[in-house]
C-alpha cells in the first residue's frame, strides 16, 4: 500500500532522515517508534507530502507521491486521512462543521454532507456534541472529532502523528481501541508514530524503530517487542515494562544457576508448563522477573528464571519442545 524507496530528508544541510526502505501492507496497523527528533513526523509527512523528501521515492497504492503535480497531490490527500497530537481542529467552527470541512473542500452537495457528518459523529461516539465548539470539548473528544474529520472522505489510509501523546492513559486506551476497530471494520491501513512502546504493543501489527534518522529495526511487533535487537529498541521495551535496567542487571548478577528468559506466546502462555518441566527434569527454578500481557490480541508471557540442580539441559529442551522461546541471559 505504501512504499518507501531510498527516502531521505535534509533540513538546511542536516540530515533528519537517512535513506530508508520500508513497505507498509494494505490493511495493517504500522507503527513507527522513536525519540523526539528521531524523524518520525518527517517520515509520516512524506506519505502525503506535507513534507517533500529530499530524495527517494514514496508510493501510495502504486502512485508515485514524489512526482505528483498540485492537482494530483490534492486528489491523493483526499484518500489519506491524518490526525495530530494537538488535534488541529478549526476553533471557529463547530464539531459538525469541522467534520464537514473536508467534504466541503471536495465540493460535495450540502444534503449529502449533513448525512455523512451525522454518520461519522455516530461512528466515533460524539454525536451529542455536534453543535459544540472544540474549546468546549475534552482532549479525547477533540481527538474523536479529528478522527471523524479524517474519515470523512472515506480514505484508505489514516496517518496518526502522536495522536494519543496529549491524552491521559484512560483516554489513550479508548482512542487506540477506536483506531483498532476502524482498522478491522473499514479495512483501514493505519500508520502511527509514537514515542511510547505501549501504544505500539496495543494496536500495531508491525513496527519500525527510528533512531536519530536511521531505521534501526523493523518487524512484527511480537518479534521486535519480545526480542529487541537494537539498543534503542531494548530501552523502549524496558521503559514500557517500567523496569530499571541497572537494577535488573544487579538482580540477575545475584542469581545462582543458569539464568534464562522464557517467552511464551499465544495459548502456551496459559499452560502449566513450569512445574511439569521441573518435576520431569528434577531442576529447581527461581523466578527472577515475570510479566504476562498482550500484544494486540495475542497473550504472551516472559519469565526470567534461574535453573539449578537436576538435568538443566533436558529442562531447556522440554521448554523449547513446548514452543517456548528460550534465551540465555548473560
Amino acid at each position: 500500500m505504501i512504499e518507501f524507496q531510498g527516502v531521505y530528508k535534509d533540513y538546511a544541510g542536516t540530515r533528519a532522515l537517512h535513506p530508508l526502505d520500508l513497505s507498509i501492507e494494505r490493511g495493517e496497523v504500522f507503527g513507527v517508534i522513536g525519540r523526539s527528533g528521531a524523524g518520525k513526523s518527517t517520515l509520516l509527512r512524506s506519505i502525503n507530502r506535507i513534507e517533500r523528501p529530499s530524495g527517494g521515492r514514496v508510493r501510495v497504492g502504486g502512485a508515485d507521491v514524489t512526482a505528483l503535480d498540485d492537482e494530483g497531490l490534492r486528489t491523493l490527500r483526499r484518500r489519506i486521512g491524518m490526525i495530530f497530537q494537538h488535534f488541529n481542529l478549526l476553533a471557529s467552527k463547530t464539531v459538525a462543521q469541522n467534520v464537514a470541512f473536508p467534504l466541503r473542500l471536495a465540493g460535495q452537495p450540502r444534503a449529502a454532507i449533513a448525512a455523512r457528518v451525522r454518520e461519522l459523529l455516530e461512528r466515533v461516539g460524539i454525536a451529542a456534541h455536534a453543535d459544540k465548539y472544540p474549546a468546549q470539548l475534552s482532549g479525547g473528544q477533540k481527538q474523536r472529532v479529528g478522527i471523524a474529520r479524517a474519515l470523512a472522505s472515506a480514505p484508505e489510509v489514516l496517518l496518526c502523528d502522536e495522536a494519543t501523546s496529549a491524552l491521559d492513559p484512560e483516554t489513550t486506551a479508548s482512542v487506540l481501541n477506536l483506531l483498532g476497530e476502524l482498522n478491522r471494520e473499514l479495512k483501514l491501513t493505519i500508520v502511527l508514530i509514537t514515542h511510547e512502546m505501549d501504544v505500539i504493543r496495543r494496536v500495531c501489527d508491525r513496527v519500525a524503530v527510528l533512531d536519530a534518522g536511521h531505521l534501526v529495526e523493523s518487524g512484527s511487533v511480537a518479534d521486535v517487542f519480545l526480542h529487541p535487537r537494537h539498543e534503542t529498541t531494548r530501552r523502549f521495551v524496558l521503559e514500557a515494562e517500567h523496569v530499571d535496567d541497572r537494577e535488573r542487571r544487579a538482580d540477575l548478577a545475584r542469581a545462582h544457576g543458569r539464568v534464562v528468559r522464557l517467552t511464551f506466546r499465544g495459548e502456551a502462555t496459559y499452560a502449566p508448563l513450569l512445574g511439569r518441566v521441573a518435576r520431569a527434569s528434577g531442576v529447581d527454578y527461581n523466578i527472577l522477573a515475570g510479566r504476562i500481557d498482550r500484544i494486540k490480541d495475542t497473550p504472551y508471557g516472559q519469565l526470567t528464571i534461574a535453573l539449578s540442580g537436576g538435568d538443566v539441559e533436558t529442562a531447556l529442551r522440554a521448554f523449547a519442545d513446548a514452543g517456548v522461546h528460550v534465551e540465555e541471559v548473560a
Binding site: L76, R77, M82, N88, L89, F101, A135, S153
Partner: protein, 221 residues
Amino acid sequence: MDGWFANVDWAEIGQASLDTLIMLGGSLVASIALGLPLGVLLFLTGKRQLLEQSVVYAILSFVVNVLRSLPFIILLIVMIPFTVVLVGTSLGVAGAIPPLVVGTAPFFARLVENALREVDRGVIEASQAMGASTRQIVFGVLLPEAMPGLIAGATVTAIALVSYTAMAGVIGAGGLGDLAVRFGYQRFQTDVMVVTVVLLLVLVQLLQMFGDRLVARLSRR
C-alpha cells in the same frame, strides 16, 4: 445652554459630524478593501508560509513600512496632486478619502498579517493534509480562524482614522476636526472646541465598544 454654547451653530456641528462619519465610513471600507488582500499577500509570501516569495515579501513590506512611517500630515500634502487626478478635487470629504486610505490601508495590512500569523500552523497543515488548495485555505481557514483578530485590527484602524479625519480637516476636508481648528483654535471659541472634542471622544468610545463586542461574540477559544 445658550449662555454656555453661545458660538455653537448646531446645524453646522451636525453637518460636520455627518462629514466626519462619511469620511470615516468611506475610508474605512476602502482601507479594509485594500489592506485585507495586501495583508493576506504579506502573510502568504512570508517566510515558511504557503506562497513563500522572499522578494515579493521584501518589496511589499518595504512599501508598507514607508507609507506607515510617513507622518500623516506630510502624506496629506504629498498626496494632493494624486488626489486631484483620482477624485477631481483635493478638498472636501471626497478629497480627504484618498490620503486617508493611503495612510491607513498599509497599517491595516500589517495588522491583518499579524492576525493571520496567530492562526495555529497545525490547523493550516491539517487543511493541506485534507487536500485544500491555497485559495480554500485562505477563505475557509485563515480568515475565519483569524476573524476576532481581524475585527480587533479593523477597530484599531477605525479609531486611527478618526484622528486622521480630524487632521485632514486642516487641509480643508471639513468635518469635526475642521470645525475645531477653524473656530475653536483660530477664533478662540472654546465652546466649539469642547463640543467637537466631546463628539470625537464619543465616536471613538462607540467604535471601541462595538469592536470589542464583536470580537467577544466571535471568539471561540
